[in-house]
């Protein structure tokens, strides 16, 4: 075991896979020499050479487009979008080909690639550095979308993602890149894609969240406990394919559900989960499903971002209202 933060854990997963499989190619803007703007790929070029870990030209469409060609030809690229807010030039390649080539070629061409991207707010950044676009990717048929909330899960999920023959959008909650440290096994292990995790058992209300918000919900749970409310906490870990069973089983037990996500609330992950619950656990509900989420606005610049970010108080406020409903 070794104490790691999420940056170390992602680096470790890349390191393990680069060592194991010479088809793995890691690239993106400033990924090679500098080791990425968040230092996630630090040291990997020195270890594996500039033909396996390198700086690409500043061209997101180019990065993802070349990854498609590489994957079609049998390599397994793991590319980085420097920030999720700069992945948009690549959307044409992602939507038109990454998600489709397998189907279009009737399975002849596998799109075994991972597109990593730091995402989310809370780092006092310039415009375009704070968005949460997971619902957008989840809405594209043909992609898997994964979001870890701990260093352990980041390592295990990324290894699974790299080993998946399907394309995976791997979104890293950059606000907690260095904020959470924990003991992580040094050897290789995987965390399965498509499986949520019940982090805390509870009886009054189920909260489903993911990424950096897990920690905020845990803070709200301290307030809830003081108020005598027992919360069952589920970390989604994979956005798509979504783990309906775990969510539905929990709601059948608690009768109430709150989703917490930083992204704009309308048409988001919370809406999808509310629909799942209506379909799978309707008769067990004692209160309407509640979405705690970002406003349907642009994420404000730092001076206004505190309004947008979801505080533990706001989560607790909704917990209380849902339980008292």
């Amino acid at each position: 075991m070794k104490v790691m933060n999420m940056v170390n854990a992602v680096n470790d997963a890349l390191d393990i896979k680069l060592k194991e499989d010479r088809n793995i190619i890691v690239y993106g803007e400033d990924v090679g020499v500098e080791g990425g703007v968040f230092r996630v790929t630090e040291g990997l070029q020195a270890k594996y050479g500039a033909d396996r870990v390198f700086d690409s030209p500043l061209a997101e469409s180019g990065i993802v487009g070349t990854a498609i060609g590489m994957a079609a030809a049998g390599l397994r690229p793991v590319v980085e979008m420097q920030f999720s807010g700069f992945a948009y030039p690549a959307l044409n390649q992602i939507i038109s080909h990454v998600s489709r080539l397998h189907n279009r070629s009737r399975g002849r061409y596998k799109m075994a690639m991972v597109i990593r991207m730091p995402y989310g707010g809370g780092i006092n950044a310039l415009e375009h550095h704070s968005e949460s676009m997971e619902a957008f990717y989840a809405h594209i048929p043909g992609l898997k979308v994964v979001i870890p909330s701990t260093p352990h899960d980041a390592k295990g999920l990324l290894i699974s993602a790299i080993e998946s023959n399907d394309p995976v959008i791997f979104m890293e909650p950059k606000r907690i890149y260095r904020a959470i440290k924990q003991e992580v096994a040094e050897e290789k292990f995987t965390v399965p894609i498509g499986k949520a995790k019940v982090l805390t058992q509870g009886t009054d209300v189920t909260i489903v969240t993911y990424g950096a918000l897990v920690r905020e919900v845990q803070k709200a749970m301290v307030m809830a406990k003081e108020a005598g409310i027992s919360v069952e906490l589920i970390d989604l870990r994979t956005i798509y394919p979504i783990d309906k069973e775990t969510i539905a089983a929990s709601v059948k037990k608690t009768g109430r559900i709150i989703t917490v996500a930083e992204a704009p609330t309308s048409f988001g992950i919370g809406a999808e989960i509310a629909a799942i619950i209506s379909e799978e656990a309707f008769l067990h509900l004692e209160a309407p499903p509640k979405r705690v989420g970002g406003f349907d606005t642009i994420v404000p610049l730092p001076r206004g971002e505190h309004f947008y970010l979801i505080s533990p108080e706001r989560i607790f406020y909704e917990i209380e209202r849902t339980v008292k409903y």
Binding site: E29, S56, R303, F307, Y317
Partner: protein
């Protein structure tokens, strides 16, 4: 000029050398002394403000900031030619051009202190907000160029981008369309040799950026971007050319980002002291100052006094930005639409109720 310095010949356009001596008399511009000194003062102001902003950032008084240090001649020369009716389409590293347009340091500070209001640049006519998604803004410049041509106006668009930005598809679409439509856009590419840590040679196999103009069938030129005389001449020629209806011009201004990419970046990770020292010899202020001193138009004494004054002015505007009215919830919602949907009103209202609840709990 665009024939003599056709980028195909790989000849860089330069007027003064590193010591401020005129080496290209033919192209030495005739600019009256007052204007010359003003240009130098503008560069000095930009540099003073820039260095001071980096130190404010170190004190935690402003967030991430992208320094202009070393690149001042390009935007100040642009400001010398750009008129009130001309358009400025910025990236985010051309302070001198914002100031020339009527933008203020306070506006710039507000943006990097995290307030959208800075990006209004309310005193700057025909200037778009800064654009962070690299190269995307260049295409908007082409669109503005279309409006100018359509309405038969006598205006020019100045569109800024960095060297790495030319790797984005958007750069190519913008330049190609501007050429196809023959619209009056000057693409001002600041080649400061790096995109964050990535050196120019990683971006392209092209000898230069200017040479790409040849393929797009438009005028282009590679200029010593640290030579304000050359920059002024090239921009003036480009402006005349575009105003005469000849279409766009691609200017590649060779310079060096003396500072970090942003205050979150550490250049020692990817470049050498030797390289920095070599570029230091080409510093745009040093060169113009040597020229002005040789013509007895400037002195170190004047400079020292002026810097003291400038520092006070920078501090004054910085403090004004710091004391800008507090952000309100309405600032989050108020500008999303001209006609705010009811659902959004409800979200704001719900949030205000939460704030009341939070207040009452205290």
């Amino acid at each position: 000029m665009f024939e003599e310095y056709n980028p195909i010949n790989e000849k860089i356009f330069r007027v003064i050398d590193n010591d401020g001596k005129v080496i290209n008399k033919k192209w030495m511009p005739e600019i009256d002394n007052e204007r010359l000194v003003k240009a130098y003062k503008d560069m000095l102001f930009a540099r003073t403000a820039d260095l001071q902003t980096v130190s404010y950032q170190r004190q935690g008084r402003i967030y991430t900031y992208p320094p202009n240090y070393g690149q001042e001649a390009i935007s100040v020369a642009t400001g010398m030619v750009m008129r009130d009716e001309d358009w400025l389409v910025p990236a985010f590293r051309e302070m001198g051009a914002y100031l020339a347009k009527g933008g203020t340091l306070k506006d710039i500070f507000l943006v990097f202190m995290g307030h959208e209001d800075g990006n209004v640049f309310k005193n700057a006519n025909h200037m778009l907000p800064m654009s962070v998604p690299i190269a995307s803004q260049l295409i908007h410049a082409t669109g503005i160029g279309y409006e100018i041509k359509y309405n038969k106006k006598k205006e020019v668009v100045y569109a800024f981008c960095g060297d790495s930005g030319t790797s984005e598809g958007d750069f190519h679409e913008a330049v190609n369309m501007a050429g196809a439509w023959k619209v009056p856009v000057i693409f001002m590419i600041q080649n400061n040799q790096y995109g964050i840590s990535t050196p120019f040679k990683v971006q392209t196999a092209s000898k230069s950026i200017a040479i790409k103009s040849v393929a797009y069938g438009i005028a282009g030129i590679q200029v010593d971007g640290n030579d304000i005389f050359a920059m002024y001449q090239a921009i003036k020629a480009a402006s005349d050319y575009a105003l005469a209806g000849n279409g766009p011009v691609l200017i590649e201004a060779m310079t060096y980002r003396k500072g970090a990419h942003t205050t979150s970046d550490d250049p020692t990770k990817y470049r050498t002291k030797e390289e920095e020292d070599a570029w230091d010899l080409t510093d745009p202020l040093k060169r113009m100052k040597a020229y002005l001193i040789s013509k007895k138009l400037w002195s170190q004494k004047e400079e020292d006094a002026l810097v003291v004054e400038f520092k006070k002015e920078v501090e004054r505007q910085f403090v004004e930005a710091e004391n800008y009215p507090a952000y309100k919830i309405g600032d989050v919602f108020g500008y999303m639409y001209e006609d705010m949907p009811d659902d959004l009103k409800k979200q704001q209202n719900d949030y205000e109720n939460f704030l009341k609840w939070k207040e009452a709990r205290k």
